[in-house]
């Protein structure tokens, strides 16, 4: 469903991604692995439309979506979370999810200004769906809490709830377990690997080999913007290039 064809991204003199190829099949849970600065988040941004690639193509569901804007891609069914746990910090958890639902409701500004009964009903339905989204991830009790005040574990779940509210077919999660305790990370990955992947295809950026090996179907390893491994997570530790990338090579 997703095909990355020879993506190259250059920032001035810096080559962040160099001719990256890989594909993701429907229903897969793929991990994008690599040391810091390998280009994982840049690749996410290219796939999600936040950055145009210098060369190459992104094919999504048989359609070339290279260079489409972020909101276009969201409407086609690509949702993503951000590495920095970006939320609408001043708003409540429920309102955060409501923003994710906006794409399912037509703006209908005039009806909104007049607050017609139909519009209000639609608004109530959206709120019910937003609450459903929180329940899905088990954080409904935080519905009225201000997002910025929530603990990190809940915030991470909330970012996923916001992204899922758009009803994506492809979900990109940028380090969903980073900064979480072992228990929280396990809880998060259990959700991702069961309930969430039943709803959509998932690609995650992840450093942690325990998580990659424990939950993902396949790993794609990037180093210096290039793909150096694409295959089963179990083979990671046996691949010399992956081991070198992570542990470093003895220099003469």
């Amino acid at each position: 469903m997703l095909e990355i064809r020879g993506i190259t991204k250059q920032f001035g003199g810096l080559l962040a991604l160099k001719d990256v190829h890989f594909t993701v099949a429907q229903g897969e849970l793929v991990a994008l692995v690599g040391p810091n600065g390998a280009g994982k988040s840049t690749l996410f941004n290219v796939i999600a439309g936040a950055l145009p690639p210098t060369r190459g193509h992104v094919i999504f569901n048989g359609r070339d979506v290279t260079g489409r804007s972020s909101h276009d891609l969201a409407r086609l069914g690509v949702a993503r979370t951000f590495q920095q746990t970006t939320l609408f910090g001043e708003q409540t958890a429920l309102e955060n999810v409501l923003h994710g639902l906006q794409r399912h409701a037509r703006p209908r500004l005039v009806a909104g200004l007049l607050a017609t009964p139909a519009y209000r009903q639609e608004q109530r339905d959206l709120e019910r769906r937003a609450l459903g989204g929180l329940e899905f991830l088990g954080i409904a009790s935080y519905r009225d809490a201000i997002a910025a005040d929530l603990p990190l574990g809940i915030q991470k779940l909330l970012t996923v709830a916001i992204a899922l509210a758009t009803e994506p077919v492809l979900l990109l999660l940028d380090e969903p377990a980073a900064g979480l305790s072992q228990d929280e990370a396990t809880r998060m990955m259990n959700l991702v690997a069961s309930d969430i992947r039943r709803r959509c295809t998932v690609v995650i950026v992840e450093h942690n080999m325990r998580i990659v090996a424990g939950w993902c179907d396949r790993a794609v390893v990037l180093q210096f913007g290039q793909t150096i491994y694409d295959g089963a997570p179990q083979g990671l530790t046996r691949d010399q290039r992956v081991v070198d990338a992570y542990l470093g090579v003895a220099e003469l």
Binding site: A74, E90, H99, Q102, R103, L109, A163
Partner: protein, 322 residues
């Protein structure tokens, strides 16, 4: 209780003026005009944009209507709408480009626009040059010109109430809700990733904001019966921001409260000339330091829940400047 209070205020605004002195009516008109300016400015401040140049859009509306009335004898009623429309068109053209900028860069771009507008009005004789345009007529109703303070007060009241109701309702629409998602670059990227076309939302908000400034600017000029490059200056732009911040950014009622208190105060200090700015500056500093949610946040501290909305700290604006 809130509805009752609101009804009482509106009733007072309708019933009491015939008993007022002309000077009191003058103050009331100035306050109403400024409330609409501040509330229009709040539309974009609510989404994290500070404008140092809304006076430029006010001037566009005012000059448009004044020129139409004096040169082409167009009815001021039409002129009011034409003033709003002209400001909206310029806002649409400029907003599409400048709203990509954040923080001080946006603020400066709007400031520059306002200064250009001002310079053009000053430079060309067609626009009245430095002397401005005099003998701007008042509108007429049923053949009679609305020449007294009292008659014009009701014109201002109607325009102000219609504008304020529109802007209030706008905030509670899905569109108004989405604007809150665009307060910083980070949340804007998040909103985009959710399928929200941020540029379109921001441009429309800016157009609405400037439309009401242009509209009220036109009404204002027909009240003064005169306009010159020295009427709508940089100082008006900054005063409006002070009103909004002192009142509070967290609620619709904040900018109104701030404007009513400070414009009332401003009129009293008019004789003091430039000291007005000094007083505003001191009030603003005190509010930012002691009461970041603005004066409106006091109502929540005291009453707990008479007014809807949540206090957003002024910091949110600063966060937008990164």
């Amino acid at each position: 209780m809130k509805r009752g209070l609101l009804a009482l205020v509106v009733a007072a605004l309708v019933i009491l003026p015939p008993f007022g002195q002309p000077y009191v009516l003058h103050v009331a008109i100035v306050v109403l005009v400024n409330v609409v300016y501040a509330q229009a400015l709040y539309v974009i401040m609510r989404m994290g944009y500070l404008s140092f140049g809304h006076a430029g859009y006010i001037a566009l509306g005012g000059y448009a209507s004044a020129l139409l009335a004096t040169k082409l004898a167009v009815s001021p009623w039409v002129g009011f709408l034409a003033g709003g429309a002209l400001a909206a068109v310029f806002a649409w053209a400029l907003g599409a480009v400048t709203l990509k900028l954040r923080g001080i860069y946006f603020s400066l771009s709007v400031f520059a626009f306002a200064e250009v507008v001002n310079a053009v009005f000053r430079a060309f004789e067609f626009f009245g040059g430095p002397a401005g345009i005099a003998a701007v007529p008042r509108p007429a109703l049923f053949g009679a010109r609305l020449n007294t303070h009292l008659q014009f007060y009701y014109v201002v009241l109607v325009v102000a109430l219609v504008s304020l109701v529109f802007l209030y309702r706008l905030q509670w629409t899905r569109f108004g809700f989405t604007l809150l998602a665009l307060r910083t670059r980070e949340t804007e990227a998040l909103a985009e990733s959710l399928g929200i076309n941020a540029a379109r939302h921001k441009t429309f908000a800016f157009v609405v904001s400037c439309f009401f400034c242009g509209l009220m600017g036109a009404v204002h000029v027909h009240y003064l019966r005169f306009v010159s490059p020295f009427v709508f200056t940089f100082f008006l732009s900054t005063d409006l921001m002070v009103y909004v911040m002192v009142g509070g950014l967290g609620s619709y009622w904040g900018p109104i409260l701030g404007t009513v208190l400070l414009t009332g105060l401003g009129e009293q200090l008019f004789a003091a000339g430039y000291y007005k700015s000094l007083v505003y500056a001191v009030v603003l500093l005190i509010v930012i330091l002691a009461l970041p949610g603005g004066l409106i946040s006091l109502s929540r501290l005291i009453g707990r829940g008479g007014l809807r909305g949540r206090a957003a700290p002024v910091d949110a604006i600063a966060a937008g400047e990164r």
